[in-house]
């Protein structure tokens, strides 16, 4: 058994081992995605054969309801993303630079949503922040009577999505911050840099990769969300997720559902490309 024969054998075995999942991904992800995109563009012609048609897209972009849904989705995505980072960055910074009981408690609490299935989060939030919910009871106990519930307003899904996205965002940010060495910060303090200066000049450059990943992943996750907007948000206009679901299941219009999915693909491909490029670059750096 020579060295080359051995690596050849291991090569075939490797390919055989990954064949099934790769095929599954190809058949059930890439193929249907391609098929439905093509299906929205190429229609069977009345007299047999196929013709190219933008009909379904023209419908989407002239239908005020569809456009309102798209706008609502973009608004929710951007607002949630900004709030997620605004909330999690300080927590991540705190956890990076503190040890002890309080930090451990904060970490446990902040990662807790990871263990709560989406449907239970929805239920909990409805009972908590909904009209006549527990939060309102607690607030009126301390004399605050002007509580306006975000439930079934555009802010409802935002709250739910922040709940949902918090652990992952925090984990990636903490992982990024762990690249910042204590020594480099102490060196900066040594030469007289203030806290803000350290944040801007030392920490931010180190976590741009993490911020990019967090933004891309959350963008993809939020844009296509179904459960949160369905349970917590208003129905008119609604987000793309519930919209697609209703178009497919209730309206029974797979063509229009595919069109909506394709538009979602296109918009999300910006985030997707950013994500993949960022990862590819990271892997290249790891290798060298």
């Amino acid at each position: 058994m020579s060295a080359t024969a051995m690596s050849l054998r291991s090569g075939w075995r490797g390919l055989a081992f990954i064949a099934i999942p790769v095929t599954a991904i190809a058949i059930f992800l890439f193929y249907p995605a391609a098929l439905s995109i093509i299906g929205t563009l190429v229609r069977p012609a009345p007299g047999g054969g196929y013709t190219f048609s933008l009909q379904s897209y023209i419908f989407f972009f002239t239908d005020s309801y569809s456009l309102a849904n798209l706008a609502r989705t973009l608004w929710t995505t951007v607002v949630t993303l900004v709030l997620l980072i605004a909330v999690n960055l300080p927590i991540a910074l705190y956890m990076r630079f503190t040890k002890g009981r309080l930090a451990a408690v904060i970490q446990a609490l902040a990662l807790f949503p990871m263990f709560v299935p989406g449907i239970i989060i929805c239920y909990a939030l409805i009972r908590y922040m909904g009209p006549n919910g527990w939060l309102q009871s607690l607030l009126s106990l301390v004399g605050f009577h002007h509580y306006a519930s975000p439930h079934l307003t555009p802010w409802g899904p935002v709250v739910g999505l922040i709940w949902d996205g918090m652990p992952l965002t925090l984990l990636i940010l903490i992982s990024g911050l762990s690249n910042v060495s204590d020594a480099s910060i102490e060196a900066a303090r040594d030469v007289g840099a203030g806290r803000l200066r350290i944040l801007v000049s030392i920490i931010t450059p180190e976590i741009t990769h993490s911020l990019l990943i967090v933004s891309a992943l959350n963008f993809l996750g939020i844009f296509g969300q179904v459960l949160m907007p369905f349970m917590l948000g208003p129905t008119n206009p609604e987000m793309m997720g519930p919209f697609m679901l209703r178009t497919f299941s209730s309206v029974r219009d797979p063509l229009q559902a595919s069109t909506q999915a394709t538009i979602t693909f296109l918009i999300c491909s910006l985030a997707g490309v950013a994500y993949v490029r960022s990862i590819a670059r990271r892997q290249r750096e790891d290798r060298t």
Partner: protein
């Protein structure tokens, strides 16, 4: 009780030569150290002997039988790894007995052998523990017991003590040497520490850039290095370039005999082979620095042309910083074209 012979053993990784074809004979019961800087090919050579790398060409003969193409599990060799590589999910007993279990021995037999191996390395009562509950030194002992219990023909050790502190390393090294002598097991030991090699080995193989530089006893390697690399790698050495004319060369006011054809040559002088005698006329070398090492003083002296001399004397020899001395060299080696061509020993 076995011999190990390497014949024209070489290894290439693609176009990179990791090991130039080399031959070496290791006799029964001998402890050989492979010594060299990292990247010198010593670990590659050890891994080829153990079967973890396939040589590009050549033979590995154990008791005359070629095992160069035999996978590690079928070789009569056993390896102690740098990271000890104990299986953390098994107890100490489980680790040591694993190889015996694979060979299909009976439980009672395994228990007896494991017990004996544990006693050999001084860990008689530790069998039920897990590796995580042991100290670094104890783990390495278990790793040694795991090898010895299989009664291999050849024991291989890959920098086994590199992760331990100096004190522990010295003690374990001594123990390993005792056990190895007691069992008379042929051993190949890789290290990058010259102290380790000098103190433990029967013979040392100095390697550099995938080549054997020199094979010899510790005393030979230290006293008679055959190449400038060995001279510079083992211990402190003054390496001086000088031009030979009619059988001698001058470095400052020091004359070094060299009965070789005229031309440039490299001279190697050990610091302890230099004695300093007071210079009254201000010629010779000026002492820059004296560092006290207890029994000896290490001295740095400078010639007027800037050449530095490392000198080592016994602590009672009077030397003062800033004063001038004549260096007297009692032993030196002359190198030309990377080989030792002449040697002057003290009379």
């Amino acid at each position: 009780m076995s011999t190990l012979e390497l014949e024209n053993l070489g290894k290439k990784f693609g176009a990179v030569v990791a090991l130039e074809p080399l031959s070496l004979r290791i006799s029964d019961g001998e402890l050989i150290c492979l010594l060299g800087p990292s990247g010198s090919g010593k670990s590659t050579l050890l891994r080829i002997i153990g079967g973890f790398e396939m040589p590009t060409g050549g033979k590995v003969l154990i008791d005359g039988a070629d095992v160069a193409r035999t996978p590690p599990e079928k070789r009569p060799t056993a390896m102690v790894f740098q990271s000890h590589a104990l299986w953390s999910h098994m107890t100490v007993e489980g680790n040591i007995g694993f190889g015996l279990k694979l060979r299909g021995l009976k439980k009672a037999e395994i228990a007896a052998k494991v017990d004996a191996a544990l006693r050999l390395v001084g860990l008689a009562d530790y069998g039920k523990r897990h590796p995580a509950q042991l100290s670094g030194g104890q783990r390495q002992r278990v790793a040694i017991a795991r090898c010895l219990v299989l009664e291999p023909k050849i024991l291989l050790m890959d920098e086994p003590f590199a992760s331990l502190d100096q004190h522990l390393r010295d003690r374990l090294r001594e123990e390993v040497r005792q056990i190895q002598k007691k069992l008379g097991i042929t051993t190949v030991f890789v290290t990058h520490g010259q102290d380790e090699a000098l103190s433990i080995a029967d013979r040392i193989v100095v390697m550099s850039m995938g080549r054997i530089e020199q094979v010899g006893t510790p005393a030979e390697i230290y006293t008679y290095p055959q190449t400038p690399f060995v001279a510079g790698f083992i211990g402190d050495m003054n390496m001086l370039k000088a031009v030979v004319t009619s059988g001698a060369a001058r470095v400052g006011d020091v004359q070094l005999d060299a009965p070789v054809p005229d031309g440039e040559a490299l001279f190697a002088v050990r610091p302890e082979d230099v004695t300093l005698t007071p210079s009254l006329n201000g010629e010779g070398v000026r002492v820059r620095r004296i560092v006290n090492y207890g029994p000896v003083l290490k001295i740095e002296a400078e010639m007027p042309d800037g050449t530095l001399w490392k000198v080592q004397t016994l602590k009672d020899v009077p030397v003062t910083e800033g004063a001038c001395y004549h260096p007297i060299v009692s032993r030196h080696i002359v190198f030309r074209e990377d080989r030792a061509v002449h040697r002057v020993d003290p009379v």
